[in-house]
Amino acid sequence: MVLPHMRAGYNLARWLLRNDHDAEDVTQEAIVRAFRFFDGFTGDNPRAWLLTVVRNSAYTFLQQNRARELDTEFDEVLHSEPTSNGRASETPEVLVLRSAQQRVLNEAVEALPVEFREVFVLREMEGLSYKEIADVARIPIGTVMSRLSRARRQLRAAVAGREQAGSVS
């Protein structure tokens, strides 16, 4: 049964949409749909399947409401700035952030373009293989590899930059 993977689905939606409210709407829609069509599921990986359903719902939502975010020229300067619409700084989790490093990394991941953020989250938080990520995101494995590589380079630069800035101020 797919339902127990709901929390992984919510986490993915939350990272793709960057706010609780939209993540809840999209997760609910996706789970209800998955529940309705579960009979049609014949694969061997219900978790990846549910993540795919959530991911597709999130992209549909972005297309309808925030198409600008899908317009992703990877702009090294723009995307290394923290997002203004990310609400990370308001969420309760942030209050318990243990360190500046944690905050910096989370903000840097939020600032990645959504296609890069998605690959990074699926890899590092869900532990999916390149093949599984390729299936969820419907991209070739080579693209998984190059996006992941670029995302990491960007994150390394962002983290290193902040640490320097922090030591100066």
Binding site: L3, R7, Q28, L105, Y130
Partner: protein
């Protein structure tokens, strides 16, 4: 391998996604080249930091409750008993049929909904998944270390006795040469700390490892297929034994092999 190639492959290398030759080549270069070595360390640091620091957003209890309600609504669009049969127009009749269908499913669905809210961790795909990882890792190891067989023989009457005395259970060994899957030998392997018999078959340039070990669970388990990193695996349990067939063969040929093995018992 030079720096440019290493740069291209190093992410896949730290993610254990490279094939063996690629991994060995990157490993060799990284050990020699300080720049690429520093790159590797930085990547692993980032990975460790991501695992430790990324926020795992948890749904709120209110949201989980709302979701449960939404699923309940899915289960029974019309509450049973609220439909009045006497004046039912066609639409209501349809609803009633649906309600019946859902009513029949309700106990199952309610249990499922409960699982979402109460005990997502009761679902343990990980145990199956970790066996799969272990079996596929054993398959890869057997190819990597040039340690495919402990006893190299296409004669089932040589391979079967070889296992006796090394395992406390008996394994049936059949040579499928006539069907296109010649026996290459046997090997003692370990899957999750359990000694397992690995029977090695060849098909053209490909190798099939058939792992067999006693099942801790009672009862047979149906055939399952899964694939990881380009390897396909089939597993099932029968008569108290676990069977895992792993290969990079194409789906159809591996399936044919599995059918041969399953028919024999």
């Amino acid at each position: 391998m030079n720096c440019a190639e290493t740069k291209r492959l190093i992410d896949a290398y730290v993610d254990n996604e490279l094939d063996l030759r690629g991994a060995l080549e990157v490993e060799g270069h990284v050990a020699r080249c300080p720049g690429c070595g520093a790159d590797e360390r930085a990547l692993r640091e980032l990975q460790a930091s991501a695992h430790a620091n990324l926020i795992r957003h948890a749904p709120s209890p209110e949201f989980e409750a709302r979701l449960r309600d939404a699923l309940h609504a899915e289960e029974s669009p019309v509450p049973v008993g609220s439909v009045e049969p006497s004046s039912a127009p066609p639409r209501a009749a349809r609803h009633r049929r649906r309600a019946w269908r859902w009513a029949a499913l309700a106990p199952f669905a309610a249990a499922a909904a409960l699982l979402v809210v109460a005990a997502p961790r009761l679902w343990r795909p990980t145990s199956e998944a970790s066996v799969a990882d272990a079996v596929i890792a054993a398959h890869v190891r057997s190819l990597l270390a040039n340690h495919l067989t402990d006893v190299a023989s296409s004669d089932q009457h040589t391979v079967k006795p070889w296992f006796q005395g090394k395992l406390d259970y008996s394994v049936s060994v059949t040579d499928w040469a006539a069907e296109g899957y010649p026996l290459a030998g046997g090997r003692l392997d370990y899957v999750e700390d359990t000694p397992a018999a690995a029977l090695v078959y060849r098909r053209a340039q490909h190798v099939v490892n058939l792992f067999v070990w006693p099942s801790k669970r009672t009862g047979d388990e149906p055939l399952q297929r899964l694939s990881r990193r380009g390897y396909s695996a089939y597993c099932w349990a029968k008569d108290g034994m676990h069977y895992w067939a792993v290969s990079d063969l194409n789906e159809a040929e591996l399936q044919k092999f599995v059918e041969l093995v399953r028919r024999q018992g």
